[in-house]
Every structure is written in structure tokens, then in C-alpha cells.
């Protein structure tokens, strides 16, 4: 088991690289599968010193549910933003800063949260506080900043906390 760990320091990265290679080749054949797997073993092995610890994912099943939720929100976000851009006068819009105090502590979880916020309805994550305890978010149209903060905390952050911590 320890030897296996030595050869595959990041098993998920190995799978992702193999999949990426198959996508690039754009076809299924044993040749490309073997070559892709070779790359998938070699690259994590060589870059091992730069990735000292492996990000922990507690419940992989919830990752898929989270991805589905985010994809749905991206489509909704596009429609919301398109409607604001096309039909709302600049004077009637309420652009606003929102501070989101973070309960998440691992860097991976905070990165995923910031990415999610940027991709979803009318919000862009702009900055992190000095030691990573709060996230600065800009809203395209938010008359009520507290509601936006609460929605992000309940909709995304609680789910990410279950996945990563």
C-alpha cells in the first residue's frame, strides 16, 4: 500500500491527466489510453515536490451534486446578467460591495468558493482579506447586500464545508 502511494502520489491527478489526454486525442484507442496513463503517472511523480500535501475530499458523491448545482446556476446567472445589461438603466442599478466572512479554512475550498461566486448570478469575487478570513465580493445589482451574503453562505459555503472539511 505504501509502495502504491509512492508511485501514485496524486491518484485523482493521474485520472484527470489520462482523461485530458484522451480528450485531446479525440478518440478511444488502447494506444492513446496507455500513453495517456503513462503521462498521468509520470507528471505527478515528477512534480511531487511542488505538491507537498494532497487536498482531501471527504465526500466525492457530493461533488457531483455541487457541480450540477453550479452548472444550473451558471445558466441562470447568464440570463440574469443579460437582462440587467439589456434592460436596466445604469441609474437604477445598485452596484455594491459585500463582505463574506469565511468559515472555510483550506485554500482549495476557498479557491473553489471564489470561482463559484464569480461564475454565478451578478457577483464577482474581488479580493481576499489579509489572512484569508473574509472574501470581498462585488455585486452587479444588489439593493440588499445582507441577503446576497446569506445566500452565498447557505447555498455554496455550507456545501463546500461538507465536501472539504
Amino acid at each position: 500500500m505504501k509502495l502504491l502511494r509512492r508511485i501514485f502520489p496524486h491518484p485523482i491527478l493521474t485520472l484527470v491527466l489520462t482523461g485530458t489526454w484522451l480528450l485531446l486525442v479525440n478518440g478511444w484507442s488502447l494506444n492513446s489510453l496507455v500513453f495517456g496513463f503513462g503521462l498521468g503517472v509520470l507528471i505527478p511523480f515528477v512534480t511531487q515536490p511542488y505538491w507537498p500535501q494532497e487536498p482531501r475530499i471527504k465526500s466525492p458523491a457530493k461533488v457531483i451534486a455541487y457541480l450540477a448545482l453550479v452548472l444550473y446556476d451558471i445558466v441562470v446567472a447568464n440570463i440574469t446578467v443579460a437582462r440587467i445589461v439589456l434592460f436596466k438603466a445604469n441609474a437604477k442599478r445598485h452596484p455594491n460591495w459585500v463582505t463574506i466572512p469565511l468559515d472555510l479554512r483550506t485554500p482549495e475550498a476557498i479557491t473553489v468558493l471564489a470561482g463559484t461566486i464569480t461564475m454565478t448570478p451578478g457577483t464577482v469575487s474581488a479580493d481576499l482579506s489579509d489572512s484569508g478570513h473574509a472574501l470581498l465580493v462585488h455585486c452587479l445589482d444588489a439593493p440588499d447586500p445582507a441577503a446576497v451574503r446569506d445566500e452565498i453562505k447557505t447555498r455554496y459555503e455550507s456545501r463546500l464545508k461538507e465536501i472539504f472539511e
Partner: protein, 126 residues
């Protein structure tokens, strides 16, 4: 069967075109600098995503081969769009905002972009 595919592909293309043009239009229309970030990052990801989905469906339905490498570009754009948006947001904060114009960071005293040595001039003075 081909009819259904045709309708789906045409709808995807029209949707992609509309979102693409809205994204670029928002860049011109919105009047404050942070808001201008919103339109391109969101609208164009679905714009390009729609074109790529249409291209996949077109290859599968009319050219009789399964083409999945379009997914690579979609994934790549979805991963990188937040990073570019974050960089440009930091740029705006760096150039135009002081700690007083931003909301209070709470526990920490300052936002990360403002945490720099006191009298050192960073960046070219454009």
C-alpha cells in the same frame, strides 16, 4: 431525427450569439468600472459554451463521428474565467481604491491587495 438535431443546433447557435453580443455590449454600456467586469466573464462563457456544444452536436449528427475535444475548451474557459476576473478586480482595487473606500474586512485589518510595504512604489506609473 435529423430535424430535431437541426432545431437543437440552431437554437444553441442563436443563444450563443445573443449571449456573446450581450457580453461585449455590457462592456460598453455599464458605467462603473467594477460592474464592467460582470458582463464579459459571465455572458461570454455561455456564448462560447453554446458554440462548442453546437459544434459537438453537429459532428455527432451530420458528420457521423463523436467529437468530444470541444469539452476541453469549455472546461478550460470555465476554469480560467474566474482567475482572469479576479486579476482584473485586483487591478482596479490596486489603482483606484484605498482601504477607506472598501468595506471593513472584519477580523483582519486590510484586504490582501492593500497589504504592501508603506513607501515602496509598486508597478509602472501609467
Amino acid at each position: 431525427m435529423d430535424q430535431i438535431f437541426e432545431v437543437i443546433i440552431a437554437l444553441l447557435l442563436v443563444m450563443a450569439g445573443v449571449f456573446g453580443v450581450v457580453g461585449s455590449f455590457g462592456l460598453i454600456k455599464l458605467n462603473d468600472r467594477m460592474s464592467r467586469l460582470h458582463a464579459p466573464t459571465k455572458a461570454t462563457t455561455l456564448g462560447v459554451g453554446g458554440v462548442l456544444l453546437a459544434s459537438m452536436a453537429h459532428a455527432a449528427a451530420f458528420e457521423k463521428y463523436i467529437s468530444i475535444h470541444e469539452l476541453m475548451i469549455t472546461l478550460f474557459l470555465f476554469l480560467t474565467a474566474p482567475i482572469t476576473a479576479n486579476f482584473i478586480a485586483k487591478l482596479h482595487i490596486h489603482r483606484h481604491d484605498t482601504p477607506e473606500t472598501l468595506p471593513d474586512p472584519g477580523e483582519d485589518k486590510v484586504w490582501a491587495t492593500h497589504n504592501k510595504p508603506e513607501d515602496e512604489v509598486i508597478g509602472p506609473q501609467l
